[in-house]
Point group: C2
Chain length 260, copies 2
């Protein structure tokens, strides 16, 4: 099957334009078909405050109320167009998408009887045929963390989950490598000394969680990774965004997550 | 040739969500292939001030400096995604585009030795083949007033001019109707009594300008209209956005601009 690289970026690489430019230069050189998924970094909260909308949290979770979704929409969509223009400048034909564009991601507003998260999307599925049609126009889809409820409302949607869903949706037609880029060199067994766990297989994952080696924010990321693998994605890589040029090379030094 | 309706909206219909919703409901019912082009209304200036960026003007022309293009990008792109989601909710498959997406509009930064307009785009051409490929996915392109310089920079670009350029670019393959929607019922001969000029042909245009019947802001709009007609667009209609459901009907009561 043809290779497809699905890359998710977020955090610092989004917050700092020089870091984003350096990342995109390397991303543009990845050969073959590829898809880029991006979050909004901390820009969302920063701009929200500038616009006089104080970010709302309940039990540590962001609540996306009416004002927040307006601001988040502008920030994610604006960033999306900036990335597309930058990729065009790097000779990569690109097209920016939210889940609403061509209905590429089907989702609904999260229903939760305990906490009302507001305008937050849970993904139902990905329209692989349409994404494929766009890639056949020689374009790299650039997907932001917005989906829609098919009734006219945009929804704030976790970018890690979008990446997992897109990789899964495309795995019927492609040999998909899903790459999560972030600020660390990989999943760490020793945070102080930045010691990377080179490979995590399914049977060892529970043990790593129980021992506390893998904790906090890494758990949902690795859960997303295994969800993708269970659904047909070949392997998932978790690495520093500076290492995006090594994901298909022998010198890759991040974490590889695979079935066995 | 197959019919294609290219509609441009701006001003009040953008500023007020209820007006936008009412417009989109009618737009969604237009049969056949169609393209929607939108400006940013007054939202851009309003948000700019909220974000602490005072709009800059020189000789009555807006200057798009570095801070302004950042804000304008967020506002236009965010509005673009909102319109796409609303159209999906109205059973219209839609895709949001800036000129950078799939390089659909080729442009460059305006060069002016007297006034530096900043990050403002002048259009070189439209990639009709790509727009056609998207329409063949049964999608209505929704184009915002952003283009790019092909070197990574987004550019603020007049939406009337984009509409004229897109209509022109598509006129080789389609029988194009270009429709400019705004707050008035058409081009007026009597502003007080809202008397519409039903038809303006080329040979009469200079006379209408010289007599002062057509003046100010209408002149660049009608210039754009005749530029499109000279380049192959069948006819241009100028009407109230509430009248969008009559553009192909006998009861159309706006202005028609045509060669003769």
């Amino acid at each position: 099957m043809e290779k497809l690289t699905v890359v998710k970026i977020g955090g610092k690489v989004i917050n700092e334009e020089a870091a984003l430019d350096a990342f995109l230069k390397k991303f543009a050189l990845i050969k073959g078909k590829k898809i880029l998924i991006h979050g909004g970094g901390n820009i969302a909260s920063d701009w929200q405050r500038k616009m006089g909308v104080e970010p709302k949290m309940i039990q540590g979770r962001r609540i996306t109320d009416k004002d927040t979704i307006e601001v988040v929409t502008m920030i994610y969509a604006g960033l999306n167009k900036k990335i597309v223009a930058k990729l065009q400048g790097l000779d990569n034909q690109a097209i920016g998408l939210s889940g609403a564009d061509l209905n590429v991601i089907k989702s609904h507003k999260r229903m939760n009887l305990v906490i009302d998260y507001g305008y937050v999307g849970d993904i139902e599925g990905v329209n692989a045929g349409v994404i494929n049609a766009l890639m056949n126009l020689e374009a790299t889809p650039v997907v932001c963390a917005l989906t829609h409820d098919n009734s006219g409302q945009l929804l704030n949607t976790n970018a890690d989950t979008i990446a997992s869903a897109v990789a899964t949706g495309m795995s019927e037609s492609y040999d998909v490598d899903l790459v999560y880029c972030f600020e660390q060199p990989g999943v760490l067994s020793d945070f102080e000394n930045k010691i990377v766990i080179p490979v995590i297989v399914k049977k060892d994952y529970d043990g790593l969680k129980n021992s506390g080696t893998i904790s906090d924010g890494m758990i949902p990321k690795i859960d997303n990774a295994f969800a993708a693998i269970d659904a047909g994605v070949g392997q998932v890589k978790i690495c520093h965004f500076d290492a995006i040029d090594t994901v298909h090379a022998a010198e890759y030094s991040g974490t590889v997550i695979c079935q066995k």
